[in-house]
């Protein structure tokens, strides 16, 4: 099944009944799929007039208690930042799918992964964090869509799923998790349903009273600390005896994994560390791996964003190398293997050493 | 005193009143005046002139004052 369709089907199976989005390549297949599938299950599909309108419809459906999703690609995700910040401040759940493309600006429609900063460091205003899940193929697109909705509801926060144009287009076999009956979804005793039989509720993020915003932000931070403590996800492969740990996520990780397999058959001890949550980043785990003289080789489909989290995790414990290709160009496993060989030799011919 | 012309009365919440004086503008029988003593917020609120002088008409309970009052500060009563 095609990646974009996988996300749509997974969302429906996870109990999502409201989708609002705007067409943008390379994820148009997702709203197109849901425009029919949502109606099958009695859900609501609106093609909003913009990404801005769509994220605000998400906000409205979320505050009303619905399980709701939107999707877009990089420039459209820029437009959604206001809404995401508001949802974080108002503590509203929602899932945002970003099928990344080349940027900045209008960029191109090829698979790039240059939205890491945008996803993990904001990109809206204020002191908030957004959990970010990075699948690396169709099976994970399905599973992590379920996880995204659960995290969003559990923590009352927007959650982002970061794919890319390649992942959205590729077709792979998928085994979906079981259908969730919407009756079994967690009850939301904070949602707006009309004040019949209770006091009226107001949900807002503007807090003008003395010290109110200070307190609210401290409370939000406690939530983010809990997420950091409990929701980190990652995968390691061949790390136990590795001399080089390659760090990559998403599509880049699939390429790196192929390179790792090729180099292993040559006798080069390469391991893979693949973060699945980009926020919260599994810093402690990576820090543990970066010892015993190992080298850490970061590979990204951009000019260096996740590498900063690697530096935060590893510091001076290990030599850190970086190889990144921007603009939607996708290197082959052979090119990544060349980078890793260069890392092994330390000759700086492919990629570069990160000086701290 | 002309008892039978007094068909209504109002009660103005002087702490809610912000002294906009629109009620004074609209009252057809001139039953509301400015109370120069300030309320807690520092406004000179409106005050109902309950006593009807010779030649004046009393409150008719028309509720124009309450209708135009932005603060919902006026309750209106009509004689049964």
């Amino acid at each position: 099944m095609r990646g974009s369709h996988v996300v749509g089907e997974a969302a429906v199976r996870a109990g999502c009944r409201y989708y609002f989005g705007y067409p943008i390549t390379p994820q148009n297949e997702l709203p197109e799929y849901l425009s029919a599938r949502m109606l099958d299950v009695g859900g609501t599909f609106i093609q909003g007039e913009s990404e801005v309108a769509s994220i605000n419809m998400v906000l409205g459906a979320s505050v009303a208690g619905g399980r709701v999703m939107t999707s877009s690609s990089s420039p459209g995700i820029s437009l959604k930042q206001e809404g995401i910040s508001y949802m974080a401040g108002m503590e509203l759940p929602g899932v945002i799918i970003n099928m990344m493309r080349g940027g900045p600006g209008l960029g191109n429609i090829a698979a790039s992964a240059a939205d890491y900063f945008q996803a993990t460091r904001g990109g809206g205003h204020g002191d908030y964090r957004t959990p970010v899940l990075a699948p690396s193929g169709c099976q994970e697109l399905a599973e992590l869509t379920f996880v995204a909705f659960d995290l969003a509801d559990k923590y009352r926060n927007p959650v982002m799923l970061l794919g890319d144009g390649l992942m959205g287009q590729v077709m792979e076999p998928v085994v979906f998790p079981d259908f969730i009956d919407i009756k079994d979804l967690p009850q939301k005793d904070w949602a707006l349903t009309g004040c019949d039989g209770r006091e009226p509720r107001a949900i807002f993020s503007m807090l003008l009273g003395q010290g109110e915003l200070y307190t609210h932000n401290l409370e939000l931070q406690k939530k983010f600390d809990r997420i950091k403590a409990e929701e980190q996800r990652w995968e390691t492969k061949n790390a136990e005896d590795a001399d080089i740990i390659v760090v990559a996520y998403g599509t880049a990780a699939r390429i790196a994994e192929s390179a790792m397999d090729d180099l292993r058959s040559e006798g080069l001890a390469v391991g893979l560390f693949r973060p699945i949550t980009l926020w919260p980043y599994p810093m402690t785990t990576l820090r543990e791996l970066a010892k015993n003289g190992r080298k850490v080789a970061v590979f990204e489909l951009c000019l260096g964003q996740m590498v900063e989290d690697v530096i935060l995790s590893v510091g001076e414990r290990a030599e850190i190398y970086f190889y990144g290709i921007p603009g939607g160009n996708i290197p082959t496993p052979a090119e990544v293997a060349n980078f890793l060989r260069s890392v092994a030799k330390g000759d700086g011919k492919v990629g570069r050493r990160i000086e701290i | 005193m002309a008892k039978n012309t007094i068909k209504g009365k109002i009660a103005i919440d002087r702490e809610r009143c912000k002294g906009c004086q629109i009620c004074i503008e609209v009252c057809p029988t001139n039953r509301i005046e400015v109370d120069r003593s300030l309320n807690k917020k520092g406004y000179s609120p409106a005050r109902f002139k309950e006593n009807v002088s010779e030649g004046e008409k009393g409150c008719t309970g028309c509720a124009q004052c309450a209708t135009v009052c932005p603060e919902v500060a006026i309750e209106v009563y009509r004689a049964k």
């Binding site: 309108a53 459906a61 809404g83 707006l192 | 309750e75």
Partner: protein, 257 residues
């Protein structure tokens, strides 16, 4: 004397309005508009099934005044948020309460498209021809010659364009069934405004389409006038640019009378 006469109360506090004192200026139209909305919801028995979306503007804190469920929206986005709410709760009454910047500047796209989709939402549009909350900047509805802090010397068509008539623009759309412009600046206008608001809610109850009532509203503070003068300015000057009356009515309610 009064003790001998038995009285009954004919005007009191609507249930859909909380008793909190408002932060609105003396003579502001918001307080009246709030009360009219509250009275209509009370009379239609809708308080407990209403969800409201206030704007960003002077009435951003409307959830402190309205006594029903409310959700804040980013500036201009109220009708998109309301769309999301209404789609989850189609059986509830969803209203937006917006100012001229919220509805006709930053929110123009969300306004036009929610209206065009015929969302079963009622919008109360407070037009005071100025940006109140932020201190008196020009609004899209500021009239020609009217002073504003970002249009010193008054609105000039060459520099600033003409004032926008968003209600008439919305009326063109087939999804919009009822558009009326009223004012809250005199006893007679307030009575008419209340009827219009009630009719707009009835449109939603009868599942007819999108309805909007524009209320010309005085802003004494930013117009730099007394309340009396501001109310008069609406009645004498503002109506020249924004004439009062029904702009579109496809409800059929008048025919049934």
């Amino acid at each position: 004397m009064s003790a001998e006469v038995a009285y009954k109360q004919v005007f009191g506090w609507p249930e859909s309005l909380k008793k909190n004192p408002t932060h609105y200026c003396p003579g502001c139209g918001h307080s009246i508009a709030h009360r009219l909305v509250a009275e209509c919801l009370d009379e239609l028995g809708l308080r407990e099934k209403t969800i409201g979306v206030p704007p960003v503007g002077c009435s951003v804190l409307a959830y402190n005044y309205f006594n029903f469920d409310m959700v804040e929206a980013p500036h201009g986005r109220a009708l998109a948020v309301a769309t999301g709410v209404k789609r989850v709760h189609p059986d509830k009454i969803v209203l937006t309460y917006q100012g001229d910047g919220d509805l006709a500047a930053i929110g123009t796209a969300e306004t036009i498209h929610a209206a065009n989709r015929g969302e079963r939402i009622t919008t109360i549009f407070i037009n005071n021809a100025i940006y109140g909350m932020t201190g008196g900047q020009m609004a899209p509805t500021t009239v020609l010659g009217q002073n504003a802090t970002t249009a010193p010397g008054g609105r000039d068509p060459m520099l600033h364009g003409q004032p926008i008539d968003i209600s008439r623009m919305l009326a063109i759309s087939n999804g919009v069934v009822y558009v009326e412009r009223c004012a809250v600046s005199s006893f007679k206008h307030i009575r008419k405004a209340k009827k219009a608001i009630k009719k707009a809610f009835q449109c939603q109850l009868d599942d007819l389409g999108f309805s909007i009532v524009e209320l010309l509203s005085p802003c004494p503070t930013n117009w730099k006038m007394t309340p009396k003068a501001a109310w008069a300015w609406v009645n004498e000057e503002m109506v020249k640019t924004y004439p009062l009356g029904v702009i579109k009515d496809e409800t059929g309610y008048e025919d049934k009378k």
